[in-house]
Symmetry: C2
Subunit: 325 residues, 2 copies
Amino acid sequence: MNEDELVAAIAAVAGPSNARVRLGIGDDAAIWQPSRSHRSVITTDVLIEDVHFTRAWMSLHDIGVRAMAANLSDVAAMGGRPVLTTVAIGVPATITGDMLLECYRGLADTARSCGAAVVGGDLSRAPVLTISITVVGEVRPSNVKRRDGARPGDVLAVTGPLGASRAGLTHLRGEVVLEGAVADAALRAFRTPVARCDEGRFLGASRHVHAMMDCSDGLSTDLTRLVRASGAGARVEWVPAAEAASVAAAALGRSVDAFVLAGGEDFELLIAVAPRAFAHLSARFDARFGRPLLRLGVVEADERLVVVKQGVEEPLSPSGWDHFS
Amino acid sequence: MNEDELVAAIAAVAGPSNARVRLGIGDDAAIWQPSRSHRSVITTDVLIEDVHFTRAWMSLHDIGVRAMAANLSDVAAMGGRPVLTTVAIGVPATITGDMLLECYRGLADTARSCGAAVVGGDLSRAPVLTISITVVGEVRPSNVKRRDGARPGDVLAVTGPLGASRAGLTHLRGEVVLEGAVADAALRAFRTPVARCDEGRFLGASRHVHAMMDCSDGLSTDLTRLVRASGAGARVEWVPAAEAASVAAAALGRSVDAFVLAGGEDFELLIAVAPRAFAHLSARFDARFGRPLLRLGVVEADERLVVVKQGVEEPLSPSGWDHFS
């Protein structure tokens, strides 16, 4: 079983939901209805030392920043506003109380930057540093964005260029040596990514955005999930690479696709937008955030996924992160 | 730093909460206000193989049951009704997909038994089985029970006898050999504990219950937390031991206190009740659940904690579970 198959089997075991739950397993976050006119969203991640991060590569503070950003991003991807978060940490004996508080500082400051408070959690001994975060957010019923709403003809776009985080990882692994501002940008993207909270709420408020999710597992994998959930396909015409990804790819003599399509952890938002509304939405986005939406391609009615390279269509298969493949 | 000191330092790092949060770090669960007339509660636990459980001692199904019961219990202890849950699991290579689904079955069935649905989660590789659960519940604003509301003169009581779970653990460790129905009861208490969801809602609905929490870390530790949070002390006159605890203690030639005061994981609810209302509340509880409330002692105005043994007062100090002492 790969990860998506396992998730499907788990959803079957979890069984039917109750009346308060509006969206269960399978999207960036689940949605429930605390009262008739309110919707809450909830998302959980677990990050494990030497699986998701290595202590040699970043400070405990930055490990906290990165872990929290990943969860805030899932709430943003639903069109929601993060409200509160709980943090359960498993602590190995090599981490002192002061080091743990450094990690919490990163977690709490990052949560606060998106308006969320750390309200509880749990502490335990563990063989390796284990950080499990849950974020709860709020969203107006009319602003909820799921991944299954894309329609044939919709424009596919992202909120920023991709691949910088993977470039940072490649640099830290010693596979490539980046320098100066490019190295700084790559390391910043990897160590202290920023969840697109304001962007998510802005896009959530547009009825022309039919589907949204975050790019956390690599564009090829995330895009596949979005269009499959929507019963559609996609034609990708351009993939916007971050400068650090282009530089790293050139230095390695490899295609930038490995960074952009398979990279992940960029936390830009991936959207499907009504085609006639795209130019206007992108202009409004630019006016608000100082950068346009980046057009990747279009949603297609038939379920195949292709990427156009030098005018030739190639099949696009999910090459991003899968813990169980 | 011990665990309580670390939690206090973390609460300071977490900083101020936002207006929606009514109760932050430090109780069984946090409380927030999704809309004016609603309150939601949220609690998180992380359970780690060979820290909280050992696979040799129980099936993956039962590991799931136990992990979920612990979290449902925290919602029950606030007077709340569990609504939904998310589960993040770190999976070592020795656990197959089918084994993982067995664990999910235990998690999901237990959640459903208290009315909660599994709505999301996360999967990752991990060096040991790591289960992180968040449960969200609902509670009427008037029914919220915190641990800091106990008043001098209040009767302290629990919803059932204590120590059976620790007796089961002692048996599994081979320190004592229990037999027959006693062994069954001890193993059931340890492997498949039951969260007191209905009891928590019943007690939450009584205005005479001034404080409530669950007995998850051992009565001495939990009682200390409750009365300290309330700015009070306690005089414990009787500790109700489960039969399995008494049998195991006798076989070991030890006091049953090690099971009851230090044991933990029984998930009975600990309450402080207005003294004039106790007899009536206990009778109503008995009529509903088929067993009375068990009176432990009284809340005292001065902040010392004592336990009376053969007519002699002894200081009661927290001897329960502390990951960081």
